[in-house]
Subunit: 470 residues, 2 copies
């Protein structure tokens, strides 16, 4: 019996895709940047099948590439183009919400549930699941945890990692680590779950998670503020935080992003006079209707104007107006692709260093790629500005993309020099392994390699991802 | 040259205590339960000296027991009585606050800073450091992180682990892992810092940490509520959370605890009529003065009374009244020792299972130790009730203590059966290794042992702690 026949026999035909057209969607990432051909796609229906699949793959010497909604921006869920024989292990059929408990403020979801499904189930139970990012309708729990997804509400609720109470993980040899408790305090030995969160499937396969729920938001206020510079935005952020306005999001957006969105987006209205180069998109919210969120936000922003930290303020008067502001933010990535090729980065710095970071990045761009336009928008409250370089009109994709390694490398270096990270929320995948090799400390890399060798001694779990070649 | 002479030469005499009277305080834990004699006490002044100390100890084959404020309730910071030759590595001289940055909402503190020193520095910078527990005046950053300390505010701010942005760790071979970034988002490989947090010094020595700061609390309201049962307390907790009252703490206290505190405490006043067996100590707080915390809490509690979930409510009218309530809670451990011997536990369960847990514990006690009195007080909002068994009057310490292993084991089992943990916030140390062996899953123990063997192949870091003998 061939190895694939053996797998099919173990899991059943429904769990084993082998024909070329069935496999094709799993052989490329959603941006079409990364290609890699698996020998089969396994779609287990439950944890026991994941265990069987991993045990059989170990026996057969097949590498395993775990996949969820496959919205990774770093190519984490696609086999390497030149990698060893591998299967894609898709968790998409494991999409049950095992338990929702409002008293425990917890929800237990299988790896294949979309983030949106978890949000909706929380809402139905009178609770709130705060993880929120662009791809949430497709991204799944397993992938969001494996990449420690971020998004726009981490300022208040933390990253995906911070929302986990317990995990169920299948180890490379098929054993199941059942740590799916939903307790808030558990100091019984090493925090194993944190090894698997953010490991991008290189140490094992997350099959389910208990996640934290929060009180629903009763009032929400959204504002856009024109500022003259990132330094002004920084002072305004501190002012809002000190004022006690209960921030949920504080995004920084360069004017060019709004221009591009107005040009290519549908039903986007210009939110205010665009007389400065920088804008803050701010959202505050409370869990109690009696809490005067609007007054708190308004008075902080007005004080900001008086102190010369803000030029102009719009506070939304309607849900339509609020939606328009968020549409500008959230449709930008699509609009930017319509505008032309771009080189993107995903760095973070301490919040206080954002002005330095942007100044140094701007100088770097002016010196090296004066033909490019500097895009900057992102999560100011987390120090995570997504800086990118938009190609000049008419430039071809491949031609512009040739600059990517140098651009990403140099921007990553600036972030690290300022005490930040070259990889903030998208993960390493295939795309940032060179940066890992160059910018991560040798001691940290040694430890990571030792851990990898301990948990996955044959190196079969998502080979080629996260860790650079030794 | 003897090994100790070699160490003294490497670190200088100020960093190497060798005389019996100098060493004596480090050879016993603060409760006087655990004894273990080190061959010397090393007190390095900086990270470079910690590195030298660990490298030299590796060469000399000496075990290393890291220690901070030595307030562990589990004997984590004292050498094993029958352990290998070891030094205590005290971080007490590393007590510099390296950096406080209000814009980044971060503070970088060395391992020997007390928790109170961090709280005070935060306040001076106009910020708030929320970690709060009884021993905070003595407990130090390194120990609080190594044991992932909890306390009364985890309901809102999480455990010590959740407050960490970055760590500096010296590995067993003396190499320094410098991951002291103060960024909010960093997805560059495995989350190494979470391995060392909660590892009780068995994998390396935490020498410094960047910690999160929060906005100061502008308004604070504290209430005590009489309830008929833990089930009522549970409904009241859910009601308060759903109401959007911004809870900081929700403690459950059995009447006997108040009685004992009134009997032995100084300047403790009876807070209300003690007509029921259970009381909730609730604190809500907001970061903005305009937020009507009192109204929100009051209306939730009044609704609780109307719904039959609460019998009587006192909301503090003065800081003195508030202090009195917290004194009852925080002096109880001392008063309980004055009352006589007690057997304590540190379990957690999902919040929804607290009534079951207490009912089963009560039945167990009635059946096995009817002469004991069930003490229950703790962090209801975290599912972490500290259950203990107070000896009958006149019972000697040793006689009562003989029941400890069985009592702790059976209470731990109930917690685990209800989906909880036998070790919630104090850690394993020496005291819960038997429970680790019995109640932790074999897969989890295997993984922990593999990680220990990878990071500390000679088993010299805090031997005998956390992991049970294989």
């Amino acid at each position: 019996m061939s190895p694939l026949d053996a797998l099919t026999e173990s899991l059943g035909p429904a769990a084993c895709l082998r024909s070329e057209p069935d496999i094709a969607p799993y052989a490329v990432d959603w941006r079409g940047v990364y290609h890699g051909q698996p020998v089969a796609v396994l779609r287990p229906a439950d944890t026991a099948q994941v265990s069987t699949a991993l045990r059989r793959c170990a026996e057969l010497g097949l590498a395993v590439v775990p996949a969820g909604g496959r919205t990774s921006l770093a190519g984490a869920a696609v086999p390497m183009a030149q990698g060893p024989a591998s299967v894609v292990l898709s968790l998409e059929r494991m999409n049950r919400l095992r338990e929702v408990d409002p008293l425990d403020n917890s929800i237990t979801a299988e790896a294949g549930c979309t983030i949106e499904a978890v949000q909706n189930a929380a809402t139905e139970a009178g609770r709130f699941f705060p993880l929120h990012f662009g791809a949430q309708g497709s991204a799944m729990v397993g992938g969001a945890l494996s990449t420690n997804a971020g998004g726009i509400r981490t300022l208040r609720y933390g990253n995906a990692r911070d929302l986990v109470l317990g995990l169920e993980v299948v180890l490379p040899d098929g054993r199941v680590l059942d740590d799916l408790r939903r307790v808030r305090k558990d100091n019984s030995g090493y925090a194993l779950r944190h090894l698997f969160i953010g490991a991008e499937g290189t140490l094992g396969v997350i099959t389910a998670a208990s996640l934290k729920l929060f009180p629903q938001l009763a009032r929400r206020e959204t504002a856009m503020v024109a500022v003259r510079s990132p330094a002004e935005a920084l002072r305004l952020l501190a002012r809002c935080q000190e004022s006690g306005a209960e921030l949920v999001a504080f995004e920084l957006i360069r004017k060019i992003c709004i221009d591009i969105t107005l040009k290519h987006g549908t039903n986007i209205r210009q939110p205010m006079e665009l007389s400065t180069d920088w804008y803050c998109l701010i959202e505050a919210a409370s869990t109690h209707a009696a809490i005067p969120v609007r007054e708190a936000l308004e008075s902080a922003l007005m004080a900001g104007i008086e102190a010369g930290e803000a030029e102009d303020v719009v506070i939304c008067e309607s849900e339509a107006q609020r939606q328009n502001l968020w549409n500008i933010r959230e449709t930008f990535p699509t609009c930017s692709r319509m505008e032309g090729p771009g080189l993107s980065t995903d760095t973070s710095v301490p919040v206080s260093r954002i002005p330095d970071f942007l100044e140094r990045a701007q100088a770097l761009i002016a010196g090296n790629w004066p033909e490019g336009r500097m895009i900057a928008l992102g999560h100011m409250g987390d120090g995570n500005i997504h800086l990118s370089l938009q190609a000049p009109a008419g430039m071809g994709h491949a031609e512009w993309q040739a600059r990517a390694p140098e651009f990403e490398g140099l921007i990553g270096e600036i972030a690290v020099e300022l005490g930040g990270s070259f990889s903030a929320e998208h993960g390493i995948g295939q795309s940032k392994r060179a940066a890992m090799a160059k910018l991560k400390s040798p001691v940290a890399l040694d430890l990571m390699r030792a851990i990898k060798a301990t948990l996955d001694p044959d190196g079969r779990m998502n080979p080629g991802k996260v860790l650079p070649p030794a």
